[in-house]
Subunit: 232 residues, 2 copies
Amino acid sequence: MAGADQEKNERAGLDSARARVRMRVPSVAERVAEELRYQLAEGFLVPGAKLTEATIAEDLGVSRNTVREAFAELAGERLLLRQPNKGVYVATLEAGDIHDVYTVRRAIEVSSIRAGGSPERIAAVRAAVEEGKRAAEADDNEGLGSANQHFHGAIVALAESNRLDTIMAQVLAEMRLYFHKATLNAHFYSDWLAENEQICSALEAGELERAGDLLLAYLNRSEQQQTAIHGA
Amino acid sequence: MAGADQEKNERAGLDSARARVRMRVPSVAERVAEELRYQLAEGFLVPGAKLTEATIAEDLGVSRNTVREAFAELAGERLLLRQPNKGVYVATLEAGDIHDVYTVRRAIEVSSIRAGGSPERIAAVRAAVEEGKRAAEADDNEGLGSANQHFHGAIVALAESNRLDTIMAQVLAEMRLYFHKATLNAHFYSDWLAENEQICSALEAGELERAGDLLLAYLNRSEQQQTAIHGA
DNA sequence: TCTGCTGGATTGTTCAACAATCCAGCGATC
DNA sequence: GATCGCTGGATTGTTGAACAATCCAGCAGA
């Protein structure tokens, strides 16, 4: 979910014996942002809804200024839209946004898979594929969705780039917000479950070009489907 | 500079006759962020420098809370680093950051150029190349740097993706901060001036694969050079 | 030399206030 | 009846002050 944040206490340089872990105590503003992110992902807050500073502040028992800080963060992630002097609204799908999001995904996912990755990272991709299979067997729609996100997240993680990871996390958060569950009718799943398997196999076999092509084809098709469902 | 922001008043949907332009009056916090971005790009604030809220607030004649908001924005862009309870510092180059940044650039630049673009967008790339030539003739080091940034920005703009554009703008801002002028010794320039020309020609000729390969090679070499100069 | 304390400085957060802006409603006018 | 202008209420933008929490450097003492 908020996978974009937890790498802040990365310390490649090990301090002698025990690496002091720097006990992460999120600030209040961060916790507010986290809570809002959660509500957005879960569909409590639907696109277009207006968020009033005072209301949220009171609901969460924090100061209006703190809420403001959280808003700024989420606006930076494109989850909220700030309209000066009017208020902040949950982001809505504008014309071209679907294409835009998929353009980003094509860029970073295909590039990542084409460069390959360490065995551990590849294993993580495999794990996501298996996770999807298990969810399918268990008829767990919820689980299928997140398995798919894990799959694509793991692909980007191949590149071992913090920046790409956070970009991907943000894009996935956007997609969760826009395409919330509704569009995940089970008839899609059979398609990409098999396809993820294929992509993963190609990756494991070192056929990076083919893996990239398959992934690209998938993303193109997925964009078409989403565009067909929601407006252009 | 802050090319990441001005597209906020985009209105594809034209309102009947006169499109109301929505007179952009940046909020105070935004102006503070803008000022800091400027000072960062210009080298007034060097990596590692500490920014004290109260000081900046007084210097710019704004409230501490407002400075805080600006800090949050810049921290989101990775230009500042927030260390809880300690303060905010100008971002410094950590181990692996160079590779990380170039990984992002490879992903989005190569992907963008491989997909080609409209004639107008291609013309913009050409314009950046010519801008570089002129700067070279005039021995304008400053101009050479920004021409190069325009070139790579124009390449990403081929994809016509707001999201990719802002990502690229942020990456370029990071590079301005880290590699500020110092590393731009003129002997590099002859290299990539000719190379930009080649890439642009290939693009104009529709030889997208070749253009992508050239660009990729350039980015790899550039990464090596930067890594050689700064630490790993 | 190490330990532990302590005071000062800075950040994190809250609160209250006020200016600026927007919006809906409501007459007044043509 | 539609348009214009006003007005009042609500919300945002920004400020200033306050206080708790945290960090850090310096210092006293073992």
